[in-house]
Symmetry: C2
């Protein structure tokens, strides 16, 4: 545990600008960001001023007291106690600000992404009727979109682990190989290299399953001539890797080669546009042009790039939040290129995904990994 | 893919009793339950009558057409298309029922557990203002709480895989062993045995970290005399295992032995109460008595038992939904015993968790696994 008071203070400055009472942290990524550690049930409050408030189970108190050097801790001992603690902490906070403001309810920010369950948000609203709950993005994006150098180093480490997993995949790809065995061995290689877990299940999609927008582990054995799409997402100290490659087991046919060629060209065009000021919509528009020039305009899907860091998909994430299409890239952001599948329904699809840092000269790939699709011959 | 029309029809019967328009499926477990397969983005509508409607990406259409033998499929091709499809499907459904009913809005059920993100629920409400969204539990619990024999067989298979993982853990436990290496090897053993993934990250908590209400992978090496708590949650065909054991590396001291003895007695008392009609609150009350008789009443935490099946925690899940404390067990339910940690803050905690089938004679353990805590001497 390592409370990052510098980050807390920057969040508080932004909260005061927005007039917020605090941020309720219930997600692994924000918890890691502020406290340099994770818990299975991350719960904390970042108030508009003063030290953060940790909410933890009684059994964890001695450890937290040692680790936090005096930060306030709300300790619960029974079902419901945790909720009670949060309500009381916000009441105290309101009092410390001299009671509720006249007119509007005081605002509290909370992350509203895939990890925030609807029933917890409903519960929070029900037990805190005096508060207005809003998405925490306006504060947290300002803090987290542009990465600190140490964050980029951790992303590189995570992506290097993904590269080791992909090496293992390449060794195993051959006619008759089992997608489940490939996923098993890749996961083992990445865990041995230090991965804590993966952000998503490993995808090893073979044959027609490469058309899936996202993935799974295909059922049958890999056949000669199959496209095989592998997506690896190990985490290291909470930072998320994302490395996807598509392989042809044997000799690519004409359609497969067309998909591979178009994707390679779209990837390079996108990488070149990862400069401050570019919008994701601009990158997608250029991608559509490239695909159309290969006769694949109908197969193009928007959303080739998304932010990545402590969250697997973070701002800009235009396939989750449509207005993010218009977020302008900033120097020092980390984004993927290759999120989109390019698929011919019933035949197969291609995706090559890597992480880049946005620079004035275009994207700098964090960990170069070959695009070398023909294997197993 | 294997559409379970029998289950769809039972859901429709219950929906008509409740006056619902349909159920929006957005979760892996309900999707598996109805369609016998999973997707990375499960999206379907079970209407109050007629065949289910699958919502899928264009690239997946040929595969789905082959697999579903004519069920309606709504195919989206771009960002936002998916949302549009859902809205249109519900409008058509309302029309097929002769327009909206007078007075109240037509109700649509949706699962509201950990996997249902708050922002998707907000989005659904915003784009479907003519509908009232309610938790789908009143229908889905009636279908899923009592397990079919084939479901119990799949749970046994999953739990057997967890047992193989725990065997591997036992082999490795010794002073100096790395919790991360233990987690890596256990996961590898379980994947090789057919696990698709785990429901939660593997927990290998050592020393004081065994006090955590839930877990993580402890940082340091295991030391002589440490308590080590391991929780394994592999999935097989979507069915969730849950096997937890606590070990002492070396000779247990007096406090450790007291925790182990109390937990063993609480476990047996709980297992004995897994009969039709018992409430989780009754089991917890007896657990408190047992702990108090060992001088550990203060350390007792409610919530020793939860339902398990295609979801890792399903009804009754009293630590998530407090009113579930009063759900009466039914013959054929599958529940865990051992969800609760029994911890002395700063010293250590114990948990032994298994899955049982509720029978008139008390819980039948699905896969017996020894409680044999002393290792590595």
């Amino acid at each position: 545990m390592n409370i990052r008071f510098d980050r807390v203070e920057r969040a508080q400055q932004l909260m005061r600008e927005q007039g917020w009472l605090g941020i309720m942290v219930m997600n692994h990524d924000d918890y890691r960001y502020f406290f340099g550690a994770d818990r299975s049930q991350p719960r904390a409050i970042i108030p508009f001023e003063g030290p953060p408030v940790l909410v933890a189970f009684a059994g964890e108190e001695p450890e937290l007291r040692d680790a936090t050097a005096g930060a306030p801790i709300r300790v619960f001992t029974h079902v419901g106690g945790q909720i009670q603690d949060v309500v009381m902490a916000f009441r105290d906070l309101m009092k410390s600000r001299g009671g509720p403001p006249p007119g509007a309810k005081p605002r509290v920010g909370m992350q509203m992404w895939f990890e925030t369950p609807a029933f917890l948000v409903d519960l929070f609203r029900r037990v805190n009727p005096a508060l207005e709950l809003v998405p925490s993005d306006p504060v947290m994006d300002r803090l987290r979109m542009v990465k600190e150098p140490e964050e980029i180093a951790l992303l590189e480490r995570a992506q290097s682990i993904a590269a080791l997993g992909m090496d293992r995949v390449r060794e195993m790809l051959a006619p008759g190989a089992s997608p489940h065995e490939i996923a098993t061995e890749a996961l083992y290689a990445m865990m041995k290299a230090g991965a804590e877990r993966t952000s998503t299940p490993i995808y090893v999609n073979a044959g027609r399953d490469t058309c899936w927008l996202h993935g799974r582990i295909s059922a049958g054995p890999i056949r000669e001539g199959d496209l095989v799409l592998v997506d690896l997402t190990p985490q290291f100290e909470g930072y998320c890797a994302n490395l996807a490659r598509t392989f042809v087991v044997g000799r690519p046919d004409g359609e497969q080669q067309r998909l591979l060629d178009a994707y390679a060209e779209m990837r390079e065009a996108s990488r070149d546009r990862l400069r401050p000021g570019t919008k994701v919509a601009d990158i997608d528009a250029r991608g559509l042009e490239v695909c159309a020039s290969h006769g694949l305009g109908e197969a193009h899907v928007d959303g080739i790039s998304h932010g990545i860091g402590l969250r697997f998909e973070e701002t800009p994430a235009s396939t989750i939040v449509k207005p993010h299409r218009n977020v302008a890239l900033l120097e020092g952001m980390t984004v993927t290129v290759g999120h989109t599948i390019l698929a011919l329904p019933g035949l197969g699809g291609v995706r090559h995904e890597d992480i880049y840092e946005v620079t004035p000269n275009g994207g700098r790939i964090l960990v170069p990994y070959p695009v070398d699709p023909v294997v197993g011959r």
